[in-house]
């Protein structure tokens, strides 16, 4: 059962208290900075405008895609469309082969994670290097990112220093300057040598045919300018009408992600280098659908407005306990538990919405106002309808419905419950509850009797 596998992964993650410590420290740093960055009033204004702009774009995706293709091609960008991940990977592989690419540098991209691009490029004999510091660390560790914005947030500093020392063949100290100095030295050389650069994209600006990248380390700009060929693999939901529509989301993205009022680098890719200019000779954009358009027009449409800031992961009381890997999906946290079952039909993915206490903090913090907890509840219903739920629950709730409505029966049943609890019995669900928590005894009589005895109500029924 998908739910049992999920529960097993979660239990294992929870048993690792070092993981919790590392994750909680990082997400708190993000959340505190995000709260301090803007006053609540300004935040509300930004949020309303960003949400409106994102929804406008999402509802107009088909025509924005057409416009983007037209404008990008006018600027000598080669645009490819991919219906799914398999097609997207095929296109990138084909471009790489055409250019005889051996060494590839990559900037951070969740879309490429989604389609497992690295694995497939490596299988084809190409060497791929992640150049975002966090992604580089995760790649060295042979893992996958555990957070949308901060891929190695689950790792302790000692662990990172160990990885770097192994890679360097000498001892690298664990202080930040030593770690970044090593990474910079190692990556610089790769940027010079690489024959292909791969990026994702934070926005695709339809009116300009431009790909916009938001980074903090400048590695995105290196990947898109130094190699002679640049390929951007981008989910189609990243389309916006024009720079004005992008501005609202661009403004709120770094605030929500890390509490920065502006990110360090905003790179706008507007085609290959012209005569006498420096830069890539070829620029390709792969517009990937991969399940997006099926979400359009339905009850989950606003999920496509997500700008991948990670704020819902940072605020989530579950994520801070488990980290991202326990979700078993590329996208984790509340947005991952919503997006994954929408993008994938696997039963494993359908179980994810259950991994939430439904506290609703994610909905409050989302900078574009996605009603995450409501979608989690709705997706649980969808999963249950497909037979994916926790064992024995369907029967239990059917029984509860019959026993507790009409309410007259409720009085009878509460008596039976009381007896069962006193004898230490009850459903297995109850035993899972009482492991680690004591349950007070069930009150002997219905509360109506107390209310009547005290004269608080005229009569009880």
């Amino acid at each position: 059962m998908a739910t049992e596998e999920l529960a097993g992964r979660v239990a294992a993650a929870v048993a690792n208290r070092g993981l919790h410590e590392a994750v909680a420290r990082s997400v708190d740093r993000h959340s505190y900075a995000a709260i301090a960055a803007l006053t609540p009033d300004v935040r509300r204004v930004y949020k309303a405008r960003a949400r409106a702009a994102r929804l406008r774009s999402v509802r107009d995706l088909a025509s924005l895609a057409e416009q983007f293709i037209r404008e990008a091609e006018r600027r000598r960008i080669v645009v490819h469309t991919a219906a799914d991940g398999v097609e997207a990977v095929g296109i990138v592989l084909e471009i790489a082969r055409q250019h005889g690419a051996r060494r590839i540098v990559k900037s951070k991209s969740m879309a490429t994670e989604e389609v497992e691009l690295n694995r497939q490029l490596a299988t084809a004999g190409m060497q791929v290097l992640e150049t975002d510091l966090g992604e580089y660390i995760v790649q060295l560790a042979g893992q996958r990112p555990s957070h949308i914005v901060a891929p190695c947030l689950h790792m302790a500093r000692d662990e990172i220093a160990g990885l770097f020392s192994r890679e360097a063949g000498r001892e690298i100290a664990k202080d930040t300057p030593s770690l970044t100095a090593f990474a910079r030295e190692r990556l610089r050389e790769e940027f010079r040598q690489a024959d292909l650069g791969i990026s994702g994209g934070n926005f695709l600006v339809a009116s300009e045919g431009a790909v916009v990248l938001v980074t903090n380390e400048g590695n995105g700009r290196m990947c898109t300018t130094l190699p002679k060929v640049h390929v951007a693999l981008v989910g189609v939901e990243k389309l916006v009408a024009d720079f004005a529509d992008m501005t609202d989301a661009l403004r709120i993205l770094p605030v929500a992600a890390t509490g920065q009022l502006i990110t360090s680098y905003v790179s706008i890719v507007r085609g290959p280098a012209g005569a006498g200019e420096e830069g890539p000779q070829e620029v390709h954009v792969v517009l990937m659908d991969s399940g997006r358009s099926e979400i359009l027009g339905g009850p989950y449409e606003e999920v496509l407005a997500c700008i991948r800031c990670g704020a819902c992961l940072d605020i989530c009381p579950v994520y801070r306990q488990t980290g991202g890997h326990a979700y078993g999906s590329v996208y984790s946290g509340p947005i991952g538990a919503v997006l994954t079952p929408l993008l994938s039909s696997e039963s494993e993915a359908q179980a994810l919405p259950f991994l939430s206490s439904l506290c609703g903090a994610c909905t409050d913090v989302c900078p574009v106002g996605i009603h995450l907890h409501e979608h989690l509840v709705a997706l649980r219903a969808r999963a249950a309808a497909r037979g994916i739920a926790f064992p024995a629950e369907a029967g239990a709730f059917r029984a509860l419905r019959r026993l507790w409505t009409p309410g007259r029966r409720y009085r009878l049943v509460r008596g039976l419950m009381r007896g069962a609890l006193r004898l230490g019995g009850g459903a297995p669900q109850l035993r899972a509850w009482t492991k680690g928590r004591l349950l007070p005894p069930v009150a002997p009589r219905h509360v109506a009797d107390l209310l009547i005895a005290e004269g608080l109500i005229e009569e009880g029924r």
């Binding site: 739910t3 506290c359 903090a361 649980r380 309410g407 419950m417 928590r437 004591l438 005290e454 005229e458």
Partner: protein, 239 residues
């Protein structure tokens, strides 16, 4: 006002004092209390993916609470479910729409309908207030219930460093992921600075069962879990 009391099943089964205190406080403000036939709000089924099994509970509520001036319950979680369920399942019925608009959690009723601001009272205790998520995030009340405690003499009110952090109850979530739910409770309880306060106040019985149950399992005597209504009642608010 003629107020119909929704006792909630957790209130009836495990925390009757909270229900009685709620009724007492409402009476002190001059309201008549009616107690229609009760059952669960349906949330356990609803949030576990069995929406059709939740519908009869909402229907039961609609039938028995129809026509109320206001409905008050000592739980933000049940109120959020009732409001949501009325609109989702019976939104076409104008009475369901109206009822959804006049169904309140106790603190919400006292603040927004009764218009109370830091009512006077007296109770000697050091207490920490936990923001129940469904009151805070689902009903958008944030930590406003604390406004009801500001005028109580003798009450020293403490705050969590991370007040928005969920206690890990989450209904069936606590059973689906027991280790995780307990870890969340422990993190919440670790957030209480020593020396431990006398009381842990919350407005939802679910949170109190979770945190109180965890404290009891660890054999810790302090803080004692107490529903907000019980504190307001004992402090003599409205007298």
């Amino acid at each position: 006002m003629r107020i119909r009391l929704f006792t909630t099943c957790l209130g009836d089964l495990f925390a009757q004092e909270a229900v009685v205190s709620t009724a007492r406080i409402l009476r002190r403000f001059g309201h008549e209390i009616e107690l229609p036939e009760q059952t669960c709000c349906g949330q356990p089924a609803y949030n576990s993916g069995f929406q059709e099994d939740a519908k009869p509970f909402i229907q039961h509520f609609l039938e028995h609470f129809r026509g109320a001036d206001a409905v008050v319950a000592p739980s933000g979680s049940c109120v959020a479910m009732l409001r949501h369920g009325l609109l989702q399942f019976f939104g076409a019925d104008p009475e369901a729409q109206r009822l959804a608009g006049v169904t309140y959690e106790l603190s919400q009723f006292l603040l927004d309908v009764e218009g109370l601001m830091a009512p006077k009272g007296h109770y000697e205790a050091r207490a920490i207030y936990h923001e129940s998520c469904h009151l805070s995030h689902w009903l958008h009340q944030g930590d406003r219930a604390k406004e009801l405690l500001g005028g109580i003499e003798g009450l020293e009110l403490l705050s969590f460093r991370e007040p928005q952090l969920c206690c890990g109850f989450g209904g069936t979530f606590a059973v689906h992921f027991p280790e995780l739910s307990l870890a969340m409770a422990d993190e919440k309880l670790m957030d209480i600075e020593a020396p431990a306060p006398d009381l842990l106040i919350a407005s939802d019985q679910g949170c109190l069962l979770q945190l109180g149950g965890r404290l009891a399992a660890k054999d810790e005597r302090k803080p004692q879990p107490m529903h907000l209504s019980v504190l307001l009642d004992r402090a003599g608010v409205g007298k």
